[in-house]
Symmetry: C2
Subunit: 167 residues, 2 copies
């Protein structure tokens, strides 16, 4: 059914997201995140209903999706912005987008590569599906914190290592 | 309810998409597209169930969503790739993503600005919502062709015009 991923994902890319997710949630939302064991995600749907998608360009290409339950997203936005917001409001998705941007930006710095990130797209809706690259696996990191569950779904690959060599 | 857009969208950005949509569909899918009158889109949901999202960076920021009915997307993929594909398959979303990438890339050339485009995200699912920038309106161009209906939803703005001045 699903095409087999032909490449492995670099563990250092995953580790960068483990670090940045903990760091950004702690600093910006004030919660301690407990990250579970990363696993491969085969289901084409993101784990939950609210997804922030960040595209990578340059030495690293692909998408990272940060997927929240509606309740978690609401709680996180409330802590992040200091007020309750309707998921229909533009400020709600702006806040989720900004948080995803920070997590991706923080991870990007950790990569030590010449990667760029696009502006995040925030998608809300039960059962939506987000396309992935088929040649690298999607690595899911389950995340738990006081305000609820979410998941980081990493589907990126390194396409050049020129700047990595320089380190 | 909805925040009022405080800026106007530059007509030349919209015209670039009119040109590129006709051009790419004609060249790559072999269909003539009839584009309707652009209007403002206030509904936070894309017009249809299959959305290709392309993020712009650099002198132009924001997202453009190309939104297809499931049937149109299926027909377009079939013409584009020469075979019928299941909407669940990765090749299906790859094809939609590639087509959106071409439309956005073609439009970008028309802008004559120093803009970049990210890799497209393809989202499939009834009733999904894609976040937009609130300070510029979303301009919708309805599109009709032999294989069905789709819409180009433009929510971008020019943030610098240095390269435009040089022309």
């Amino acid at each position: 059914m699903t095409e087999q991923a032909t490449e492995k994902i670099d563990a250092s890319l995953v580790k960068a997201f483990v670090y940045s997710t903990k760091n950004v949630l702690n600093t910006m939302v004030g919660v301690d995140v407990e990250l579970g064991k990363p696993s491969l995600r085969h289901d084409p749907q993101p784990s939950y209903n609210v997804s922030g998608i960040v595209g990578f360009t340059g030495d690293v290409v692909g998408n990272v999706v940060i997927s929240f339950t509606g309740e978690t997203a609401g709680n996180i936005v409330e802590s992040f912005c200091g007020e309750k917001m309707s998921p229909q409001s533009e400020d709600f998705s702006d806040a989720i987008g900004e948080l995803c941007n920070m997590i991706a930006g923080n991870a990007k710095k950790e990569f030590g590569l010449n990667a760029g990130i696009g502006i995040p797209s925030v998608v809300i809706g039960a059962g939506h599906m987000i396309a992935r690259m088929s040649d690298v696996p999607c690595v899911l990191i389950p995340c738990k914190c006081d305000v609820g569950n979410f998941a980081v779904e990493i589907n990126i690959k390194q396409v050049a290592c020129l700047t990595a060599e320089v380190k």
